[in-house]
Amino acid sequence: MDSLAAQLQMQYRNYILSLYQQGFLDDQFTELKSLQDDGSPDFVAEVLSLFFDDCVKLVGNMARALDQTGTVDFSQVGASVHQLKDSSSSVGAKRVKGLCITFKELCEAKNYEGCVRCLQQVDIEYKTLKAKLLDMFMFEKQIVQAGGIIPQVDIN
């Protein structure tokens, strides 16, 4: 096999493993990848695109709900957090999901400062994940361009 493709494949494997080891992704992402096939070749990119659109929308909703003058409607904030928790769980976005669990508890406790801090962390975290996954797709493109195939990565 061409040495460039082989080298890229090894780097790709290490990169994917690091995403799991650092807690960015969990088993649900593996499930997502397993559903991609010749009949749905862009499925993972499509569902992640929907997820990141969701993040923008829901983080915006949370920010507006927390920015209200007067009494904050924590149930409104909580509703958006709940939605983001569900969608992050569905794509295997482990850190985002974890933050949403904490955020939900802060909403239930009506902890305003905690919610604001958590929102900032959620914002950073989903953007970080997005950048990392864009790098992953770039790797895949480079492997294919070098004549290789994208390897399945065993995370166990």
Binding site: E31, S34, S40, V47, Q83, K85, D86, S90
Partner: protein
């Protein structure tokens, strides 16, 4: 198999063709709708989606909808999963309805959802491994 006419041959052929599983996916989250669509496609089924319980009920109003399976989210705007399930059963919809809940839902909430008329309840996120045994039972029935 012996047949006596062209009509009988056509009828025999259509009985032998395996029916594709026809699924209605009801969820307000586009990420989850997409995920469930692809899971159903991966097991050879076809699907239609609804963004909330009210849309799911409206799809059935003319009496022509015929789904083998409905995947029903619990928390949705306009009409939630519990209300939609109750309404569909009142409308004599006999499809298998699987409620899709979150781990945060407590036992009482899940029980109330089941009592609305579900056949089964599964926790998010769904996967092929979770749903396949239920679908195999449905297809065998």
């Amino acid at each position: 198999m012996a047949t006596t006419s062209t009509g009988d041959i056509e009828k025999t052929k259509s009985v032998e063709v395996k029916k594709k599983l026809n699924v209605l996916i009801v969820d307000d989250d586009p990420v989850i709708r997409k995920l469930h669509e692809i899971i159903i496609k991966s097991i050879g089924g076809i699907s239609q989606t609804a963004k909330n319980g009210e849309e799911a009920v409206n799809i059935h109003r003319d009496g022509n909808a015929s789904f083998d399976l409905i995947l029903m989210d619990k928390e949705m705007p306009e009409r939630d999963g519990l209300s939609a399930t109750k309404k569909l059963r009142e409308m004599k919809v006999t499809s298998m309805i699987i409620g899709v809940t979150t781990l945060a839902d407590n036992e009482e909430e899940r029980k109330a959802f089941m009592e609305a008329g579900l056949n089964h309840c599964l926790a998010k996120p769904l996967s092929k491994a979770k749903i396949l045994p239920l679908i195999n039972n449905l297809m065998d029935a």
